[in-house]
C-alpha cells in the first residue's frame, strides 16, 4: 500500500483544550498547522470540565498570583516544579483574559466581571482565608472553553484531520522526532505526517481504571507513543481520585458544588470532613477529601447506592435558584444518572479516578525531555502539553480548576516556543529513516493479522480490575507487586490477542485494540512507579509507608518502558522559582 505524506510546519496530536490553544497560536502566526484528532474536536474530554479555571483575577476579593502559586506548590505536596508553577500562575490572568476576548461566555459578577467561585485548596495570604479564584461559565466551563477554541481555530484556518488516529512517533536519525504515523478511521488509510514540530496533546488515560470520570477516549495514546519511542514518562504513580464521582456510574460531580456551599455527609448524617480538615472542611485538597471518604466507607459509615458503597453530597441547602443558575449541568447529570434531584435529595458519590498528574516530562515551554546520565536532554522536534504532559505543575496532587489553567497557559507557551523556534531556524528538518515507518506499522499489522488469540476485551477487563484493586486510593507493596506481575503476564498475552473485525471502513474495534496497547503501557508505568516510591505523598498513599519522606523523595520518578520490563530513573524537582522566594516543604494541614 502506498503511503501518503502530509507535511506541515507544526502538527498537534489531540483536539482538546491544550492542543487547540497551541494550534491557535501557530495558525494565527501564519504557520501551516494541522491538528490530528481521533474525535471531532468538540468531543474531546476537555468538554467535560465543569467547575472552572483557576486564576488570580481578584474579581471577588483582592488576590495575587503568588497566593495561587503558594496553594499550587502546597497542593502538589512539594514535588511540583516551582519555576513552572510560578510561570503558570503569573501567566494565567493574561491567558484567561484572552479567552474572554475570544468569546468564552463566562458567568459574571454584578459589576460585569468574570465570576469566580471558591474551590478546594485555595487561600489568600499564603494559607489564610478561603479564596474564590476559579473562573466559571456556570458548571460547563470546559464545554464553553473547548467550543470557543474550536471556533477560533476555524477562524484561523487550522487544518483539522478529524477522526484520524495517531499510531506512533517517527524517530529521526538525529535522535529526535520528525512527525508521526496516523490512520484515517473512516477509510483505514495510513499516512506519514511530517513536521519539524510535533506537539502531543493527547490527554489523560483514566480508562486504565474500572471506575473513572474519564471519557472512553482517554487511553493515554501520547504516553504510549513516547514510551515506545524509548523516552521517559514522569510521576506516573500520581493519579487523582476525584472525591465526587456519581456512585456506580463514575460521572463527575464538580468540586464547585462544595465551592458553592455543598458538603459531604455519612450514613449518620454527620458532616465528617469537619473531623479530617477542621479549618477548611469540605474544601480541603482532593487527595485529602478522597481519602477521608474512603476511610468513612471502610469503617462502615457509608451508604449503599447503585450497588456500591458511597457517601452523600448535599447541596439542597443552596436553594433552587443557586442550583439552577450556578450548577444546572450537575442537576441534569444527577437526575439522569443518580435518579435524584439535588434540589431535594443528596447525590451518592464515591472517589473516582479523574486525572493523571504524571506524563511526558517537559520544560515550561512544552519541550519534551529525556534523561541521559543524570542530565536532562530536550528531544528535538517533540513537545507535550496538557494532561499528557508533566511540566510539572501538579506534582503529587492537582488543585481543582488548575487543569484548565495548565491547558491554556502551556498550550499557548508551546505554541509561542514553536513559532519562535521555527522562525529562528532552531527546529531543523530531521532525516527520516524508512525503517522507522515500517516500525510504526508493526502494531497495526499485529492487530490486522492476529486471528486466533484470546479476545482483547478479556485483557482490557482484567487490566482495569488489577489497577482498580491494587493501585487505587490506598496502596500497599504486598498487593502492588503481585499486581505488577499480573500486568506483565497480561502484557505477554496482549501480544497474541485478537479482534473480530478486520474491515477497513470505520473499524472502531481496531482503534480500541490499538488504544489497549497504550492503556497497557500506562498501567505498567503506573505500577512500577508506584512500587518504587516508598513513601506517602499527595495522591500516592501507601499503607506500608504511611509517612512523608522529604529527605529521599522530593524528586520525580521517571519510567522507561521496553518490550520486556520497565526501568526507573529519577529527576530532581526544581524548587527554585523564577523570581520569588522558594516555598519550603511543610506538613499540609487544611
Amino acid at each position: 500500500m502506498a503511503i501518503n505524506t502530509y507535511e506541515f510546519d507544526a502538527i498537534i496530536v489531540g483536539g482538546g483544550g491544550a492542543g487547540m490553544r497551541a494550534s491557535l497560536q501557530l495558525a494565527n502566526s501564519g504557520l501551516k498547522t494541522a491538528v490530528i484528532s481521533k474525535v471531532f474536536p468538540t468531543r474531546s474530554h476537555t468538554v467535560c470540565a465543569q467547575g472552572g479555571i483557576t486564576v488570580a483575577l481578584g474579581n471577588m476579593h483582592p488576590d495575587d498570583w503568588r497566593f495561587h502559586m503558594y496553594d499550587t506548590v502546597k497542593g502538589s505536596d512539594y514535588i511540583g516544579d516551582q519555576d513552572c508553577i510560578e510561570y503558570m500562575c503569573q501567566q494565567a490572568p493574561a491567558a484567561v483574559y484572552e479567552l474572554e476576548h475570544m468569546g468564552l461566555p463566562f458567568s459574571r459578577t454584578a459589576s460585569g466581571h468574570i465570576y469566580q467561585r471558591p474551590f478546594g485548596g485555595q487561600s489568600v495570604n499564603f494559607g489564610g482565608d478561603q479564596a474564590a479564584r476559579t473562573a466559571a461559565a456556570a458548571d460547563r466551563t470546559g464545554h464553553a472553553l473547548l467550543h470557543t477554541l474550536y471556533q477560533k481555530n476555524l477562524q484561523a484556518k487550522t487544518h483539522f484531520f478529524t477522526e484520524w488516529y495517531a499510531l506512533d512517533l517517527i524517530k529521526s536519525t538525529e535522535g529526535g522526532i520528525a512527525g508521526l504515523m496516523a490512520m484515517c478511521i473512516e477509510t483505514g488509510e495510513i499516512a506519514h505526517f511530517k513536521s519539524r514540530a510535533t506537539i502531543l496533546a493527547t490527554g489523560g488515560a483514566g480508562r486504565i481504571y474500572e471506575s473513572t470520570t474519564n471519557a472512553f477516549i482517554n487511553t493515554g495514546d501520547g504516553v504510549g507513543m513516547v514510551i515506545r519511542a524509548g523516552f521517559p514518562v514522569q510521576d506516573m504513580e500520581m493519579w487523582q481520585f476525584h472525591p465526587t464521582g456519581i456512585a456506580g456510574v463514575g460521572v463527575l460531580v464538580t468540586e464547585g458544588c462544595r465551592g458553592e456551599g455543598g458538603y459531604l455527609v455519612n450514613k449518620n448524617g454527620e458532616r465528617f470532613m469537619e473531623r479530617y480538615a477542621p479549618h477548611v472542611k469540605d474544601l480541603a485538597c482532593r487527595d485529602v477529601v478522597a481519602r477521608s471518604i474512603a476511610i468513612e466507607i471502610r469503617e462502615g459509615r457509608g451508604v449503599k447506592a447503585n450497588g456500591v458503597d458511597a457517601v452523600l453530597l448535599k447541596i439542597d441547602q443552596l436553594g433552587a435558584d443557586v442550583i439552577n443558575s450556578r450548577l444546572p449541568g450537575i442537576r441534569e447529570l444527577a437526575i439522569t444518572f443518580a435518579h435524584v434531584d439535588p434540589i431535594k435529595d443528596p447525590i451518592p458519590v464515591v472517589p473516582t479516578c479523574h486525572y493523571m498528574m504524571g506524563g511526558i516530562p517537559t520544560t515550561m515551554h512544552g519541550q519534551a525531555l529525556t534523561r541521559i546520565n543524570d542530565q536532562d536532554h530536550i528531544i528535538p522536534g517533540l513537545y507535550a502539553v496538557g494532561e499528557c504532559a508533566c511540566v510539572s505543575v501538579h506534582g503529587a496532587n492537582r488543585l481543582g480548576g488548575n487543569s484548565l489553567t495548565d491547558l491554556i497557559v502551556f498550550g499557548r507557551a508551546a505554541g509561542i516556543h514553536v513559532e519562535n523556534a521555527l522562525k529562528k531556524g532552531d527546529l531543523p528538518q530531521q532525516t527520516v529513516d524508512e525503517s522507522q515507518i515500517d516500525q510504526a506499522l508493526v502494531r497495526v499489522n499485529r492487530w490486522n493479522n492476529n486471528k486466533d488469540g484470546e479476545s482483547f476485551h478479556t485483557i482490557r477487563d482484567e487490566l482495569k480490575k488489577i489497577m482498580q484493586s491494587d493501585f487505587g486510593v490506598f496502596r500497599d507493596g504486598q498487593y502492588m507487586q503481585p499486581g505488577l506481575d499480573k500486568l506483565d503476564a497480561l502484557y505477554a498475552r496482549l501480544q497474541n490477542a485478537k479482534i473480530n473485525d478486520h474491515s477497513e471502513v470505520f473499524n472502531t474495534t481496531r482503534i480500541e485494540a490499538l488504544e489497549l496497547d497504550n492503556l497497557m503501557a500506562v498501567a505498567r508505568a503506573t505500577a512500577l512507579s508506584a512500587i518504587t516510591r516508598t513513601e506517602t505523598r499527595g495522591a500516592h498513599s501507601r499503607e506500608d509507608f504511611p509517612d512523608h519522606d522529604d529527605v529521599n523523595w522530593i524528586k520525580h520518578t521517571l519510567y522507561f518502558g521496553t518490550e520486556g520490563k520497565g526501568s526507573i530513573d529519577f529527576r530532581p524537582v526544581n524548587r527554585q522559582p523564577l523570581t520569588v522566594e522558594p516555598f519550603q516543604p511543610k506538613a499540609r494541614v487544611y
Partner: protein, 236 residues
C-alpha cells in the same frame, strides 16, 4: 438479582461487504436494574465487534452518540433503556449519508455550522482585562451556548432534509443567534446580511422537531424566531 431480556433491532451497513442496509436483531439477559442505551450497545459490541457507532464522554456533553431511537433522535448515553418499548429499534441519524452502521457523515452539518461564522467578532481593541458584560446580558446566552453539535435537531428537521445545502438548519441557526445575542459581538449587520436570503433562515417552517429532540433542552425554533425578527426589523 432478577434479570430481564433486552431486545434490539439495529440498522447495519458496512460498505465493504453489504450491498444494502438491513436490520439485525440482538438480545441479551441483564440485571433488571436501569441501564443507559449506550451501555446496552457497548454490551452488544462485545458480542459482535463489527457493530459500529461513535461515543466519547458517556454523559451527554460531547455529542458523539446521537442516533435515532425508536423513531426519535437522541443521545444513547442519556437514554434510559427502561423507558423504551422493545424491541428497541436503533437507526443512524436520518438525512445524513451513512458511513457504516450508526456512523453518519456529518460534513454538511458542520459546513452549515461554519457558514454562520461561529466565533465572536469584535473589531475594537481589546482591553487589558475582560470586556465587561452585565449578568443580564450574559443571561441572554443561556439556552444557546450549551449546544453540543450532536445534530439530533438538524437531522430531525424536514426543511434541513430538503435543503441541507441552503438552509442553515436549527443547530447552525442556534449558534448564529448565540453570537447575535452576545453584547460583546459587534458584527450584527454583517451576520444578518449573510443570513438575509429566502433559504438560510426562512426555510424554517416552525415544525419544532428540533425542540422536541434536543437532548440539552434547547430551543432552536425560538432562536430562529429572534433572528427572523431582527431580519424583518432590518428590512423596514
Amino acid at each position: 438479582m432478577t434479570t430481564k431480556t433486552y431486545r434490539f433491532s439495529i440498522y447495519r451497513y458496512n460498505p465493504e461487504c453489504d450491498v444494502e442496509p438491513y436490520m439485525q436483531d440482538f438480545s441479551f439477559e441483564a440485571p433488571s436494574t436501569d441501564m443507559m442505551l449506550l451501555d446496552a450497545i457497548e454490551h452488544i459490541k462485545v458480542q459482535d465487534e463489527t457493530l459500529t457507532f461513535r461515543r466519547s464522554c458517556r454523559e451527554g456533553v460531547c455529542g458523539s452518540d446521537g442516533m435515532n431511537i425508536n423513531g426519535k433522535n437522541g443521545l444513547a448515553c442519556m437514554t434510559h433503556v427502561s423507558g423504551l418499548k422493545q424491541p428497541i429499534v436503533i437507526r443512524p441519524l436520518p438525512g445524513f449519508p451513512v458511513v457504516r452502521d450508526l456512523v453518519v457523515d456529518m460534513t454538511q452539518f458542520y459546513k452549515q455550522y461554519e457558514s454562520i461564522q461561529p466565533y465572536l467578532l469584535n473589531d475594537t481593541i481589546a482591553p487589558a482585562v475582560e470586556r465587561l458584560q452585565s449578568p443580564k446580558d450574559r443571561a441572554k446566552l443561556d439556552g444557546l451556548y450549551e449546544c453540543i453539535l450532536c445534530a439530533c435537531c438538524s437531522s430531525s428537521c424536514p426543511s434541513f432534509w430538503w435543503n441541507p445545502d441552503k438552509f442553515v438548519g436549527p443547530a447552525g441557526l442556534l449558534w448564529a443567534y448565540r453570537f447575535l445575542a452576545d453584547s460583546r459581538d459587534n458584527a450584527t449587520q454583517a451576520r444578518l446580511g449573510a443570513l438575509d436570503d429566502p433559504y438560510s433562515v426562512f426555510r424554517c417552517r416552525s415544525i419544532m422537531n428540533c425542540v422536541q429532540v434536543c437532548p440539552k433542552s434547547l430551543n432552536p425554533t425560538k432562536a430562529i424566531g429572534k433572528i427572523r425578527s431582527m431580519l424583518l426589523k432590518e428590512a423596514v
